[in-house]
């Protein structure tokens, strides 16, 4: 379970997050939706302890990320790109993470198999396509077989088969009682995958509920999204 409570983030005079609160429950896939610059990535970075909050808190099973005893077995995260240095091979990247978390080397080969990178494991990350880089990032997220997955734009750069694979993966994890929080701007894709939806716009939560609740009378998630995030959204419909 992920809890964001009254989170505020300011950079200089700019307010990026304006006291947002929401939860991502276990056993459900929660979609985190918003236009570029709305505060999605900032929220996820604070949740993962990468950025500090001006005030408020972001908790994983009741504790801040920095205080997790076994972070990689608790949370698997995918942020921008692959998160790997381009000069290292895919396997070397996963190997140092596994070492750092005390995971067996065999787990590296397992996750390479899961994400379909076994054949590219010995190649340098610099030679990977965007989609392969994302798969490597996902492999890193899955290394510790975590209870929680936090994925920022996971389908970005993936081919249709990869997109379907991600959808199946997150649905299976939620079905097994785990928590999945994923951000995306691909409305159609999200509507196929998520149980709950949180919509953020200009640093404020503008909708929070089940997929059906958020769509409401708008017909589609896309219509609901534009109605919620643009001043003339209703007119555009």
């Amino acid at each position: 379970m992920l809890t964001i409570h009254q989170l505020v983030k300011r950079r200089g005079s700019r307010t990026i997050l304006n006291g947002i609160s929401f939860q991502a429950r276990s056993g459900r896939v929660t979609g985190f939706l918003g236009p570029n610059g709305a505060g999605k990535s900032s929220t996820l970075r604070i949740l993962l302890g990468l950025d500090s909050a001006t005030s408020g808190e972001a908790l994983i099973n009741g504790v801040p990320y920095a205080r997790l005893r076994n972070p990689l077995a608790t949370v698997g995260a995918l942020l921008d790109g692959s998160g790997a240095h381009r000069a290292r091979t895919g396997r070397a990247h996963l190997s140092w993470i596994a070492r750092s978390a005390g995971l067996p080397r065999s787990r590296v080969d397992e996750v390479l198999g899961i994400v379909g990178l076994t054949d590219a494991a010995a190649k340098r990350v610099g030679s990977y396509s965007l989609g392969m880089g994302r798969r490597l990032g996902l492999a890193a997220a899955l290394l510790g077989d975590p209870e929680v997955l936090v994925l920022d734009e996971p389908v970005n750069g993936l081919d249709p088969e990869g997109i379907r694979w991600i959808r199946t993966l997150v649905r299976e994890r939620a079905a097994a009682g785990r928590t999945v929080l994923l951000s995306s701007h691909l409305m159609g894709e999200l509507a196929e995958t998520v149980d709950d939806v949180i919509v953020i716009s200009q640093g404020r939560i503008v909708a929070d509920g089940t997929l059906a609740e958020v769509i409401g009378g708008h017909g589609t998630l896309e219509n609901a999204f534009f109605a919620l995030t643009t001043p003339n959204g209703r007119v555009a419909q």
């Binding site: 302890g49 920095a66 921008d80 790109g81 692959s82 240095h85 000069a87 290292r88 140092w96 750069g157």
Partner: protein, 254 residues
């Protein structure tokens, strides 16, 4: 311990680190090879003063470039940004997600840098001293118990220089500036040395103080400094810099 092995694994899986290791071995041994040609000629002409007290040590002072590069890469590789087409990610996010305690992460990284630099310094010192023996034979300066602290001084100098480069790069988050400044200062124009012409305080710069640990013949020096004092002065610089780097690193957004 896990964090340290992870950092060692990171370092040793980068080609650029292996290039730095090669530089640390090749630079002093190559300078010795070049210098021994003229030294042998001088000896043949009967000039026995050609073999100086600092032979080998002077060359090793240049080899420190290898350790400096390792210190810089250890940090700059974390902040290297992927191209926009690859998603624009940086490894530091992966590192801090795996190791959320920033201070421990930085300590593990610094320890890994110190360990690799110490091994490199030892290997380079052995290779350089052995080479002098091979090139100059009986004319090579004798290695005795007095050389033990000097050789230890070389290892300390390399480790401290690597940590100095490491600390500066934590602050800049980019490798080019620290690499350029430190390499130029070590090899092309030693700015800190030139400053000693202006003020004797410049002898307390970390590099100028640090070389006292193993260089005995600073003939134009106006400041007396024992090897141990030189080492302590350099250690104080490095400790201060690492403290500032750690405070900044723990406070700023990744």
């Amino acid at each position: 311990m896990r964090a340290i092995t992870a950092e060692l694994s990171k370092l040793l899986s980068l080609l650029s680190v292996w290039v730095a290791l090669a530089i640390g071995l090749i630079v002093p041994t190559a300078i010795v090879a070049i210098n021994s040609v003229s030294t042998r000629k001088a000896i043949a002409l009967g000039d026995h003063t050609a073999v100086g007290i600092d032979m080998g040590y002077q060359e090793l002072a240049f080899g420190v470039i290898g350790a400096i590069i390792i210190g810089v890469i250890a940090v700059s590789s974390e902040y290297f940004t992927e191209s926009g087409e690859s998603g624009g990610g940086r490894q530091i996010t992966t590192s801090l997600i795996a190791r959320p305690s920033r201070l421990r992460f930085l300590l593990a990284k610094a320890t890994a840098v110190a360990m690799v630099s110490a091994v490199l310094a030892s290997a380079s010192a052995v290779a350089t001293m052995a080479e002098i023996r091979i090139f100059l034979g009986e004319h090579a300066p004798e290695l005795g118990s007095a050389d033990v602290p000097r050789l230890a001084g070389i290892v300390c100098y390399w480790v401290l220089s690597a940590l100095l480069a490491f600390g500066i790069t934590v602050l800049t988050r980019h490798g080019i500036v620290p690499l350029a400044i430190l390499i130029v200062n070590t090899s092309v124009v030693t700015v800190t040395y030139l400053l000693t012409r202006i003020t004797s305080l410049a002898y307390y710069f970390p590099d100028m103080a640090g070389i006292r640990m193993f260089i005995r013949n600073l003939d134009d020096s106006t400041v007396e400094m024992a090897p141990l004092v030189g080492g302590l002065v350099m250690t104080a610089w490095v400790a201060a810099l690492l403290t500032i780097a750690a405070i900044v690193f723990c406070r700023r957004d990744a």
